[in-house]
Amino acid sequence: MKRTKWISTRSYRRFPALAQVVVMSISFLLAVTCCITFPPLNAAAAAAAAEPSAQEILDSISSSNILSGNGQATLEMTVVSKQGRKKVQQLELYRRDDGKGNVSQLLVFTAPADIKGTKFLSIGTAGKETQMWLYMPTLGRERLISGSATQGQFMGTDFTYEEISGAISFSAEYTAKRLADTTKDKLSCYVLELTPKSDKAKYGRLKLVVHKESRIPLVIEFFNRAGKAEKTLTLDGLHKSQDGIWQPKTIILNNLSSGSSTIIDILQESREEVSEEMFTLRYLRR
């Protein structure tokens, strides 16, 4: 039997998992990054870990939002319209997490030509609202994104600014209930249903399919207040890298309202720590 162990922030820093950084950045739950598996220790612990409560599962996802990593990745983002037209964007993702809830993320568009140089910076400070800026080369200066604007469409994709910045905390806004376990792609998964704690939460209901071993949500279904399904996020090709880190190959967000979808492929990644100065207005303006 195997035992899954959640390592400390300090330990995690030695194993920054960028692919998972991508997952968490792009998949609303920046969270999933710190799931690193270790060899089995004892059966009792494994049994205890096997049947956690709904809240424990949700906390383990969201708490990993605090325990996150640093890194850089090259992504390809393909937006497919309802009519099947494709729009491909390439971008660099930089991420830094000090392990105390201060998470900074920078997205730099490198293609196509009409959006090249556009940058999106989000700086999350523990206990405070995440600050977001969008820099557009044609404007020549940064623009603050806040309030209702965070729910706006991010650069023509199906993601909102809030979602792409990873500023959503499911654990803080929703109550979890466990449903019957399931399997996805032959992987054993928990199933959670989340309902909002207050009217402030954006969605009326969420359904999460969470991989048991890595605690990475493989499917998230988003329902609006009227109970209608709005979006579905799917992580495909979850596999363990040579370093023992779980990571997906593709992230797909289906917008059920518009019929469009956004597909994110991870082309390249680096686990080197990203300099703090990249997450500043100074760098944004370059």
Partner: protein
């Protein structure tokens, strides 16, 4: 049909600086492992059917080439633009250097030297604290405000606290003179080369809670020349005269979040050089000024909101103590304009069922004068790099400033751009 060809030469000094520095940078960049230099560009065509103009159409073919590279030590950016425009009675060919600058990044200092735009402020589209680059406000109807790049050196020092101090030394470049004003046919006297310099400084600091506050000071040349009517002995007895003058501007700007979006305020107090030519005397031989000679304030207050479904909208109130934003001159000689207040609306919506389609709306409504400039545009991207668009501009009202811009703006527009 007449033909005209224009070649706008880049400033020699700026060009030498760029080329020399470029060589240095290429060597530095190679050492620092910079990204390879990239070439990109755009070609576009637009047809503007002008419903209120004698020359009732304008057909424009445009091209833009950009060559750029960057590294952790710096970078360069060179932009060349071309335009071939035909109207019923004239044809224009124009080549010009757009932005062309060199960046150097030192430990705490970022330096940018070359032809560049320096866009300061927090307001959307029109920025009272941005005084270096001339801006043609009629470009707002294109949904993308455009500034004329000027040769300048800008250096920004960044403090560890998040504060920054920026200094700019620039060379004055005259704006294209507004069409259909009293200025038509007049050649204003330009400043001497040695006096063309402009300076500006900006300090910025984060306040507790996050908002940045910007304080600016500038000593620049005004975008447009001042005008007056000077009595002469012979017919026409009053000779229109024009010249450029300096102005100082003190500005402040900030933007902050509120529960539903972002709110901003930007204000500038502008003190133009006092010219004796603009003083109105009581004798019959006194000049009749067409421009003000007194300090004035410009203030913008605005906020944005994104509705459920993705409709973005922003609204701004713009107070201009100088008078009209569209026409910088008095409607009647010797009679100073009253302050104007404008409501500026911007809206953008991506159609949910067709994410390749976007609708944009811009409105500039003169609250006092009951006139307005409205522009709407629909754009559609059938292919990744191809954008098709169609729009309409309406200039409504009987004020002089609206009458002035109506012929050049009101009408239908269709076009396409292809980027690579």
């Amino acid at each position: 049909m007449s033909g005209r060809s224009v070649y706008c030469r880049p400033q020699p000094a700026a060009l030498v600086l760029i080329l020399t520095s470029w060589c240095v940078l290429v060597a530095l960049a190679a050492a620092a492992g910079s990204q390879a230099a990239e070439l990109s560009g755009e070609v576009g065509y637009s047809f503007h059917y002008l419903t209120e103009a004698a020359d009732n159409y304008k057909s424009s073919l445009t091209g833009q080439l950009v060559f750029q590279s960057s590294s952790s030590l710096g970078g360069f950016y060179i932009e060349a633009k071309g335009k071939f425009e035909t109207q019923p009675n004239k044809t224009e060919k124009e080549w010009e250097l757009g932005q062309a600058y060199l960046d150097i990044y030192l430990e705490n200092i970022d330096i940018r030297a070359g032809n560049q735009t320096i866009n300061w402020g927090t307001a959307d589209g029109i920025n009272p604290t941005s005084t270096i680059n001339p801006q043609d406000l009629t470009s707002l109807t294109n949904m993308e405000p455009a500034w004329l790049p000027v040769p300048a050196v800008r250096a920004s020092y960044y403090f560890d606290s998040g504060a920054a101090l920026t200094g700019v030394v620039a060379r004055h470049k005259a704006a294209d003179l507004p069409a259909n004003t009293q200025l038509a046919g007049i050649q204003p006297s330009e400043p001497k080369e040695a006096e063309r310099y402009e300076i500006a400084v900006r300090g910025e600091m984060p306040l507790p809670g996050g908002p940045q506050v910007y304080l600016t000071y500038s000593n620049t040349w005004e975008d447009y020349p001042v005008m007056w009517l000077q009595p002469v002995q012979s017919f026409p007895y009053l000779m229109p005269m024009a010249k450029y003058r300096r102005q100082q501007a003190f500005g402040v700007a900030t933007a902050t979040t509120y529960s539903s979006g972002v709110a901003w305020i930007e204000a500038a107090y502008k003190i133009p050089e006092k010219l004796s030519e603009l003083e109105m005397g009581t004798s019959p031989t006194s000049n009749l000024p067409l421009s003000g000679n007194d300090p004035y304030a410009q203030v913008v207050v605005g906020a944005d909101y994104t509705f459920t479904g993705g409709l973005y909208t922003s609204a701004q109130l713009f107070y201009n103590g100088q008078g009209s934003l569209l026409n910088p001159y008095f409607s009647a000689p010797g009679q100073p304009e009253k302050a104007h207040t404008y409501l500026i609306l911007n809206s953008r919506y991506t159609i949910t069922e067709a994410p390749d389609s976007q609708i944009e709306l811009m409105g500039l409504v003169d609250v006092n004068g009951k006139s307005s400039l409205l522009a709407t545009r629909y754009s559609f991207q059938p292919l990744q790099n191809l954008k098709l668009f169609a729009g309409y501009v309406l200039a409504k009202g009987e004020q002089n400033d609206i009458k002035m811009v109506r012929p050049q703006l009101q009408g239908w527009l269709i076009g396409a751009t292809y980027s690579f």
